[in-house]
Symmetry: C2
Subunit: 211 residues, 2 copies
C-alpha cells in the first residue's frame, strides 16, 4: 500500500468526520427542513465542492446526520446494570440540554418520516426496534417476566418519547416532570413483584444442592 | 343588508370551506413539507388566484389545516361517559384508517414545530394542553384522585401518541397492540382502587354513621 495515499485518505476521513459533526450541529440547531449543502458549507466553513466531495448529495448527508442522531437519542449503551434508578438516569440524560437538542431533532426526523420518505422511515423504524429490544432485555435482567418485556418496553419508550415531545412543545416543566414521576412510581410498583431471572446453577451452588 | 352581497358572501364562505377541506386532504396524503399554493390549487382544481383570494399566503392556509388536524387528532369530544372501555374506544378510533391519516399528519406537524416555528409550536402546545385537561377531567369522573389526574393524563396521552408513532413508523401491528393491551391492563389495575368522586352525604348515609 502507498503511504502517501494512505496519509491523504486518513486526512480525508478525518476531515469528513469533522464536516459531518459540524453539519449535525447545524441540524441540531435548525432542523433538517431548510438544510441545503450550500447553507451547511457556509456554516461549517468549507467549500461547497468539499461538501459534495465528501457527501455527494444532500440526501446522503442527511442520511448520515440521521444515523448519528438516531444512535444518540434515548440511547442506553452505557447504562450500568446496577444503576439503582435506571429510569431516572435515562430521564436526566434525555432532559439535559444536550439530550433535548437530540430529542428535538429526533422528533423533527420522525415528522419528516411520515410522508413519502420510506428511507427515513426505515431508519427511524430500525432505531425504534433496536431501542425496544435493548430495553426489553434490560427489563428481563431486572426480573420482568419475558412474555411481557417487549410490550412493556414498547409502552415505556412510547411514554418517554411522548413526554419529551410534550416538554419540548409546551415547556410545561412541572406538569411533565410530575407525569414522569407518576410513570416511575407505577414501574416501581410493578417491579416489586418481579423475581430475578433463574440462572444456570454455578458449580458451588450445585455442590450445595447436592450436599 | 344587501341580499346580493350576502348571497355572494355565503357562496364564498362555502367555497372557502370546500377548498380548505380539499387542501387538508392533500396534506393528509402528502404532508406539509412540499405543500405550495400552486400544488394545492392544481390538486384541488381551483385557480391559484382563488386560493390566494381565500388564504392570502401558504402560511395562512397551513395554519388553518393545522388547526383542523389538531382539533381532530386524538380528539375525545363525543366519548360517552358510560363507555365501558373508553381507552379501547380511543385506540380503535386512532388506529382506524382515518385516525391514522390524522395522527400521521399530526406527527409531521409536531416535527415541523421543533425548529424555528414558534407559531406552529404554540398551536401544538395549545392542542396538547387541551387534550390533557379533557382527559384529566374524564379520569376524575371515573374516580381518579384529583391530585394525580393531570400527571396520569399527561402520561397516558404521551403513551398513546408514542405508540401511534411507533405503529406508523414500524408497522409492527402485533407488538404495538400488545403494548397497548399492557397499558390498558395496568390502567384497569390502577382504576380498581379508585373511588367515585365524593358527593355530599345523603341524610340516610349520615344516619348510618351516627347509629
Amino acid at each position: 500500500m502507498n503511504e502517501h495515499v494512505d496519509g491523504r485518505k486518513l486526512r480525508f476521513e478525518h476531515r469528513r468526520a469533522e464536516v459531518l459533526r459540524a453539519a449535525t450541529e447545524h441540524a441540531l440547531d435548525h432542523g433538517l427542513a431548510g438544510l441545503s449543502l450550500r447553507k451547511v458549507a457556509q456554516t461549517v466553513g468549507v467549500s461547497h465542492a468539499t461538501l459534495v466531495h465528501h457527501f455527494s448529495t444532500k440526501d446522503e448527508l442527511v442520511a448520515e446526520i440521521v444515523d448519528l442522531v438516531l444512535a444518540r437519542s434515548l440511547a442506553l449503551p452505557d447504562l450500568a446494570d446496577d444503576d439503582p434508578e435506571p429510569l431516572e438516569t435515562i430521564w436526566q440524560r434525555a432532559t439535559s440540554d444536550t439530550g433535548r437538542r437530540y430529542i428535538r431533532l429526533f422528533t423533527a426526523i420522525t415528522g419528516h418520516a411520515m410522508h413519502d420518505n420510506p428511507r427515513l422511515r426505515d431508519a427511524v423504524a430500525r432505531s425504534m426496534r433496536q431501542r425496544t429490544a435493548l430495553l426489553a432485555a434490560g427489563l428481563v435482567r431486572h426480573g420482568c417476566p419475558e412474555p411481557e418485556a417487549t410490550a412493556l418496553a414498547t409502552s415505556l419508550l412510547s411514554t418517554l418519547r411522548g413526554l419529551l415531545v410534550d416538554l419540548l412543545v409546551t415547556a410545561d416543566e412541572e406538569r411533565v416532570r410530575a407525569a414522569f414521576e407518576d410513570l416511575a412510581a407505577e414501574l416501581d410498583r410493578r417491579g416489586a413483584h418481579w423475581q430475578p431471572p433463574a440462572r444456570p446453577p454455578s458449580p458451588s451452588a450445585t455442590d450445595e444442592v447436592r450436599s
